[in-house]
């Protein structure tokens, strides 16, 4: 079955009109009947009362004593009683008022009701007893004025009901539009939300409690939805970030594995170079350019040995890292002392070291290496221009709240250099990756930093902004004392 649908305003208006189309005719006919009957009864009552008064006058008065008096009284009835016709029938003689209509036939009896006979006259016949004989008073009243009053009243009522109908429809239209406005607003916002714009707030101002409650419920649903979507987005972002970190780690592992293999081959190659060259140099007869050249070969081989050692540091092929409980404040202070001697005066060094931080499990020598490498990288990022290098240490809670507090020590080094593009940021820990000119760096510094951080079980993050600088943050799991034991928290 097809169901016709229209707007809320039209729906209410149509219902109001439909109800009044049924109710108003019924009201009109009902009230019209009452008005008609009231007027008719009033007319009949008036006519009968007047007729009785005239009849009594004839009975008790002297009007029957002479024809002239009879005619005068009948004339009085016509003049003042609004009678159209007045006649007295006495002993076979009918005396009729000279003022009434002459062509009206004498009635035989009183009309039973208003409008009887369809002649427009209401007849009353009353018996009169005067001085021992009987007579009849016959009066006829004009029904037309009463009918006109009835018609006038009905017309007025019709206008009144018509006006009422108009006003009712007007009120229905205005009211329905006022009612439908918040519904339309709800509809608009719901459609916007349905298109995926969940930021649109359902703020409906209405005095209708049901609509207000509906809007409040929908707004609560929207907030819930926004929360679910936000949680989903955060979850997806976290998953993407974890996948990115995994890809990054896998790439570093792959590069590390490759570098480790190359280092092994390279070390084997360096053994004969160093040993043979050293052996030849032991020949005291060798002199001049030949000796000098061989010494340079030996020097180059030893530098190559250092490079391989750095590659192995990146791949965590370190000499056994001697992890011990250390105070990073001591390491940072020592690192700054060493670095200050190397740093140009154009670099301002700022320190922000907390007074009390927990111990961490690390190798003091490698940690020093880490600090110097980070400081060197920061200084080189400023390209010799004026700038600020900040280094800091602080205690912080690394937990997300789900597993309770996770004490950590954060070491950060920041510069006011040129910052890095995302592509550069992605590759900075790869060995031999460098953005500097040839001869200004091997590209091993940050890969060594990464290797050292990994060997400590710590983590490193980078924040950078083009034109503003870069901050490296190394987070060490702090060692907390439980009774007589030191327990390292997970980073």
């Amino acid at each position: 079955m097809v169901r016709l649908r229209t707007s809320f305003a039209n729906y209410v208006t149509l219902w109001v009109v439909a109800v009044h189309i049924i109710l108003l005719p019924a009201l009109f006919f009902g009230m019209g009947y009452v008005i008609r009957k009231s007027h008719e009864n009033l007319f009949v009552e008036h006519a009968r009362t007047f007729a009785r008064v005239v009849a009594e006058e004839f009975e008790v008065g002297a009007a029957l004593d002479s024809r002239q008096r009879t005619e005068d009284l009948l004339d009085l009835a016509v003049l003042h009683g609004e009678a159209l016709y007045a006649e007295l029938y006495d002993r076979g003689v009918a005396t009729r008022s000279r003022l009434g209509s002459a062509d009206i036939l004498s009635p035989r009896h009183t009309d039973l009701g208003f409008g009887q006979g369809g002649d427009g006259i209401y007849f009353i016949v009353l018996p009169i007893v005067h001085a021992g004989h009987n007579a009849e008073l016959r009066l006829g009243f004009d029904e037309l004025p009463a009918q006109e009053r009835i018609h006038l009243a009905l017309r007025r009522m019709l206008w009144l009901l018509g006006g009422y109908l108009g006003i009712a429809i007007g009120i229905a239209i205005v009211l329905s539009y006022r009612l439908s406005r918040p519904i339309h607003r709800l509809q608009d916002v719901s459609r916007v939300i349905a298109t995926g714009d969940y930021a649109r707030v359902l703020n409906i101002s209405t005095g209708i409690r049901e609509l207000h409650d509906l809007a409040s419920d929908l707004e609560a649903m929207r907030r819930e939805l926004v929360g679910v979507i936000k949680a989903k987005e955060q979850s997806e972002a976290r998953r993407d970030e974890l996948q990115r970190q995994l890809r990054h780690r896998q790439r570093l592992e792959t590069v590390g594995t490759l570098a480790s293999g190359i280092a092994h081959e390279f070390n084997n190659v360096l053994v004969p170079i160093i040993l043979f060259t050293s052996t030849v140099l032991q020949d005291v007869s060798l002199a001049g350019a030949s000796r000098s050249h061989l010494e340079r070969v030996l020097g180059a081989a030893r530098r190559a040995k250092d490079v391989v050692k750095k590659i192995l540091t990146f791949t965590r092929e370190l000499d056994e890292a001697r992890l011990a409980l250390i105070d990073l404040r001591v390491v940072v202070t020592e690192g700054l002392n060493l670095f200050s001697a190397l740093a140009p005066p154009s670099i301002e060094i700022r320190t922000e070291i907390a007074e009390e931080i927990p111990l961490v499990k690390a190798d003091a020598t490698l940690a020093l290496h880490l600090v110097i490498n980070l400081c060197t990288n920061a200084y080189q990022a400023m390209d010799g221009a004026d700038g600020v290098l900040s280094i800091g240490l602080r205690y912080r809670d690394c937990g997300d709240g789900s597993l309770g507090p996770q004490p950590c020590v954060e070491l950060w080094v920041s510069d006011t250099g040129h910052g890095m593009e995302p592509d550069t940021l992605e590759r900075i820990f790869e060995p031999f990756f460098t953005t500097r000119s040839v001869g200004q760096g091997t590209g091993l510094g940050l890969s060594v930093v990464h290797g050292i951080v990994e060997s400590f079980g710590a983590s490193i993050t980078v924040e950078t902004k083009i034109g503003e600088g870069t901050t490296f943050r190394v987070v060490f799991p702090a060692v907390v004392r439980v009774g007589d034991e030191f327990i390292a928290a997970d980073a």
Binding site: E253, T254, G256, T257, L258, S260, G261, I262, A263, H264, E265, F266, N267, N268, V269, L270, V271, P272, I273, I274, L275, F276, S278, T279, Q282, A301, K305, L312, T315, R316, E317, L318, D319, E320
Partner: protein, 135 residues
């Protein structure tokens, strides 16, 4: 004259170490794999074996265990330059140099040296194990 056996799959490593030791007055034999080295040890008594760790067929750690078991008087120097066994494909946990050398120590090597080493380091290790003036 003290006899030293060098076991390494790299010819240049074998020859350079041999050159240094010959100049220092030692008699030096070489093998490019551990299996041949064990056979040679069975035929010819040696005072000291210098062996690489990462080698095809039998690796250095297994060789050290076999030498310690069959020839307990032979002194052993382990040398390694790190890297992966074969370095083929992706190996998530590359076994580190120090891990190789630690394994070698645990297997019975008397001295361990990281490649590349200096002449002085090599001679000091050999002299320490064989006794100064024994050459």
């Amino acid at each position: 004259m003290r006899k030293i056996l060098i076991v390494d799959d790299e010819l240049d490593v074998r020859d350079s170490v041999k050159c240094v030791l010959n100049l220092a007055g030692y008699e030096v034999l070489t093998c490019d794999n551990a299996t041949d080295a064990l056979e040679l040890l069975g035929r010819t008594p040696m005072d000291l074996v210098i062996t690489d760790i990462i080698m095809p067929k039998m690796n250095g750690v297994q060789a050290i265990q076999a030498i310690r078991s069959e020839f307990p008087l032979v002194r052993i120097v382990a040398i390694s330059g790190g890297g992966n066994f074969g370095a083929v494909g992706y190996q998530p946990a590359a076994i580190a140099t120090n891990a190789y050398l630690k394994s070698a120590e645990e297997a019975g090597a008397h001295v361990v040296l990281t490649k590349p080493f200096e002449v002085a380091d090599l001679l000091q290790a050999v002299e320490t194990l064989l006794g100064v003036g024994h050459a």
